[in-house]
Amino acid sequence: MSSSTVNWFRYSSPASFFPLAGKLVPWFAAAAALLSVLGLWLGLVVAPTDAQQGDTYRIIFIHVPAAWMSMFIYLVMAFWSALALMFNTRLSAMMVQALAPTGALFTFIALVSGSLWGRPAWGTYWAWDARMTSELILLFLYFGYLALHAAIADSRRADRASAVLVLVGVVNVPIIYFSVKWWNTLHQGATVSLTAAPRMAAVMLTAMLIMSLAAWFYAIAVTLLRVQAVILEREGRAAWALNLAGAE
């Protein structure tokens, strides 16, 4: 590796990534807190009441970011899993392990907030429509990953086995995303897209996008914090970790 280019592999070592993660966590956490306060204020106070749905629509400020994150985090997990299998890097697998609980949490929030909204809007908490069912399957995939990783005692083997599982399960993500288009079911299609003008009031859209950013930053902050814990759990006996503990 020549010294003139940035050595990206430097941060693939847990020892050099650990301090970097520690430095980044407060920034992302602060950004997440600020943005969610701003987003909730815009969404709950400033945004007008919807003509058809009344105030129940306001659940989208939680529901939509959570649903986006639930799928996106799985894709990120698949990316790190692929890297972990191809390059046999420890840190990639640790990232997958750190992302999974947050992904499961967002999936759960998306399902619960959706069903709470469904009761007044559709008259039912739950319908077996394509998008809800596939989101539920996504939750099972997260649980499957967590269960498999926890069941294998040797952490290196657990990393590799569950990376294969994540990559097999990734087929589900496009199915969830396009389910509303492919099957004409109860859940409405996307209101927001990059190619067409948004079909909602500007302030609602702004609030939703700010809440999505807040969800992103929250996920990044929590993942980095958790990956630090994973690193310490596995390599706490390594010389660099003991040095770090001695220095503080």
Partner: protein
């Protein structure tokens, strides 16, 4: 292409097919010697299907509505129950390690094992299904679509399940874990398999669902042996 690669190419091809046929022959021979075990798995399928009319009540109209779904769910569970026999015994006595060390490519050997596994457990189940479908009052056309769906779907179940079976090798409490890993992946097959009969009843052509099942099977034939071989390597590390 030089002469050496020209000569090497058919040899490599032969060895892949050789691996498949060797594994099929060996596993089928083993399956034939444990017929009682295979019979138990088939009986499990029959008993699960039988439980539904007892639980729901013998109303013919209800049973006819539920029939395809019940048969598919029972097929999923029976397939799940049969999965540990795919690798567990070979893993326990070290045969799997010798298989992985052989000159045949591991994906080919794994494919052969999956084919044999389907012939031993999936094919009898499909063959028995028309009889059980009659008990639920399905008519001839519906039974035809159901069996076609099972023929296209159950090999996919074996292929996907083999990945889970390899991933859970030597893991504590692997039975329940296998269910948690594999059943979510089975869901699309269940939806389209049972949906094919539904669409026939709605007066539509079930071709779309059957085509999707066939597409899923083709994708699984390409991808599953590779993932499964990777999982076997990880288990043997």
């Amino acid at each position: 292409m030089n002469e050496a690669t020209l000569r090497a190419a058919p040899l490599a091809n032969d060895s892949a097919w050789g691996g498949v046929s060797w594994a099929v022959a060996r596993d089928l021979k083993l399956a034939l010697r444990s017929r009682a075990e295979l019979g138990v798995q088939l009986l499990f399928y029959v008993i699960v299907v039988t439980l539904f009319p007892l639980g729901i009540g013998p109303d013919p109209a209800t049973l006819r509505t539920l029939g395809p779904g019940v048969l598919w769910v029972a097929a999923l569970l029976a397939s799940l129950l049969a999965l540990p026999r795919l690798f567990a015994a070979d893993f326990a006595d070290g045969t799997l390690e010798q298989i992985a060390l052989s000159p045949y490519p591991l994906p080919a050997l794994v494919s052969g094992k999956i084919v044999a596994h389907w012939l031993a457990t999936g094919a009898p189940l499909v063959a028995l299904s028309p009889l059980l479908a009659l008990q639920f009052g399905l008519d001839g056309g519906e039974i035809g679509v159901l069996v076609t769906g099972l023929l296209l779907g159950t090999p996919t179940l074996s292929l996907l399940g083999a990945i889970g079976a390899a991933l859970t090798l030597g893991v504590r409490g692997s039975g329940a874990l296998l269910a948690l890993l594999i059943l979510p992946l089975y869901v699309p097959i269940l939806i389209f398999g049972a949906g094919a009969v539904e669409s026939l009843r709605a007066g539509l052509v079930p071709g779309a669902q059957l085509s999707i099942l066939a597409a899923g099977l083709l994708a699984a034939i390409v991808g599953a042996p590779l993932a499964c071989a990777a999982a076997v390597h990880i288990a043997l590390d």
